[in-house]
Amino acid sequence: MAKALKEKVLSLKMLSHSVFRMSIESEYISSTALPGQFVNIKCGDGINNILRRPISICGVDRQKGTFDIAFQVRGKGTRLLSEYSGEDLIDLTGPLGNSFSLPHTLIPQKHSKVAAVGGGIGIFPLLFLLKEMNNAEKHAYLGFRDCRSMVMVEDFREVTDKLLISTDDGSAGYKGAVTDLFEQHIKTWDKPDIIYACGPVPMLRKIVSIAQAHDIMCQVSMEQRMGCGIGACLVCVCATRQDDGWKYSRVCKDGPVFWGQDVIFEE
């Protein structure tokens, strides 16, 4: 169950020119959050900047009662967020949304092989997910713009059996789209049992088509502009298939995680 909370910011670290990682004290979030869930943060005063900003939970420390988020400064809201400092209270609702299905719940009898594919800010929820997985062989494929934008690589290395990186300009790792990197790998290598993906829509569309071509289970985490974040206002929808056609599902409540084959990627 989501709660509205005012929690203490413990630290804010700059990871790259535009990405920050924030640790927040929260007994409640740290003890209840599942991978794939997010918090909805009031970055400004709520009157001049009305909307909260959805940010994924990228890790929890249940012992210490803290959780982490990582975010890129894009516009007004994330800029304000980057100006918080330790001891500030942060106003957030969460944990929100559904969560990724962990491998052991999908394939209980097996030590499954898992691929996590993330692009840009889409990598953050995957870190939490990979950390929470036991009894699985974990490969991660992370796409960045360039080597300057690479963040959290060590964190991912710690929680994966194999980590592959791509950059658009080839300044680190594979040169090109992370989807191409991933596709080459499943061609030459044992295919995974499950794919988890998060990133821009074109990337997700491609991943889902790869998954379908190879008949691999696939979950994607979607992004959409949000209002309430709790499922009441119906602004955050994406088109999903259902028996008799399609409908608009709420990314904040029915998602953000969807089965790849259920999502209709528009335009």
Partner: protein, 305 residues
């Protein structure tokens, strides 16, 4: 401290306080029930209902603007039958006024919905006349006194619940429209719905909203809403329910001084699930500060001398 009474009665609808959650920002109450005790609300106006299940508009459906938001949900909706079957029983568990906000493509659809609601346990119907009249060229029902007259009297004829007519602000003369609604049998007027607006992403060179245009709400429109509530209150005798950018008790008091017998809180719910409760508390505090005992001592008490 004086015991203040926020209870009020609008057109036969009993409200334990004058604060109602505005349609479209509160769903059917379920999600908010996780955060607040719905029994504490004056009422809930549910997400605009349509005769049939409706998908709504293409996303993105929301944009942030200075002190406001634009939305273009477009009445995504399970349909009125599903509401009556699946949602109303849940809402009826609570001791708060339930207002069914309805929206149709034709006058007939409005009437059909009103009839379907007639033997349900709702407290009132709110007629959302901001929708385009599909049969006559697509102008909103609410944009001419004639169309408002027609729809009001036709719906009034087929329902026994108190009838609130919710006006659109996108008109030249709001008082004229309110008077048409009153003359045609409306029991109360609520206003304002959202103001038509648009935002552009200059880097993509595209509208931000999938629907191109959307409805502006929030503090940005409060001055427009207060003015319209003031104009309408002076022109009709039926009660007026005011809304548009109410985020605090002080905002609500502005509307009440301008003539609103009750208020609705919309956009504020999106940022703050406790918004309605905070507005109630703020009104209470204002009344205590000035030793008022009944909300009637505020309503319409603006001094324009």
């Amino acid at each position: 401290m004086a015991q203040v009474s926020l209870a009020t009665n609008i057109a036969g609808i009993k409200l334990k306080n004058p604060v109602i959650a505005a349609s479209g920002t509160f769903g059917f109450g379920r999600e908010f029930a996780e955060f607040i005790d719905l029994n504490k609300l004056g009422g809930i106006s549910v997400k605009g209902l349509k005769l049939r299940p409706t998908r709504g508009n293409k996303p993105p459906r929301i944009a942030e603007t200075p002190a406001g938001i634009l939305n273009s949900v477009g009445l995504q909706n399970p349909g009125i039958e599903a509401f009556i079957k699946d949602e109303l029983p849940f809402l009826r568990q609570y001791d708060t006024a339930i207002i069914a906000n309805i929206a149709g493509d034709t006058v007939e659809e409005y009437c059909e919905m009103a009839r379907m609601l007639d033997d349900t346990e709702i407290d009132a119907i709110e007629l959302n006349v901001s929708c385009p009249n599909v049969k006559s060229g697509g102008a909103a029902f609410g944009s001419s006194p004639g169309a408002v007259s027609e729809i009001t009297s036709r719906v009034k004829a087929c329902c026994s619940h108190p009838l609130i007519v919710k006006l659109t602000p996108n008109v030249t003369d709001i008082a004229e429209i309110a008077m048409a609604a009153e003359a045609s049998g409306a029991d109360a007027i609520s206003l304002i719905n959202t103001v038509l607006g648009m935002a552009i992403d200059i880097h993509k060179r595209k509208p931000v909203l999938g629907n191109i245009v959307g409805g502006l709400s929030g503090p940005a429109i409060k001055p427009v809403a207060v003015r319209m509530v003031y104009e309408v209150s002076k022109s009709v005798r039926i009660p007026v329910i005011g809304m548009g950018g109410i985020f605090s008790g002080e905002d609500a008091v502005e509307f009440m001084l301008a003539g609103a017998s009750a208020v609705m809180v919309g956009t504020a719910n999106l940022v703050n699930p406790f918004a309605c409760l905070e507005v109630i508390k703020g009104i209470e505090e204002y009344m205590e500060m000035y030793n008022y005992r009944h909300v009637n001592e505020i309503i319409g008490k603006l001094d324009t001398a």
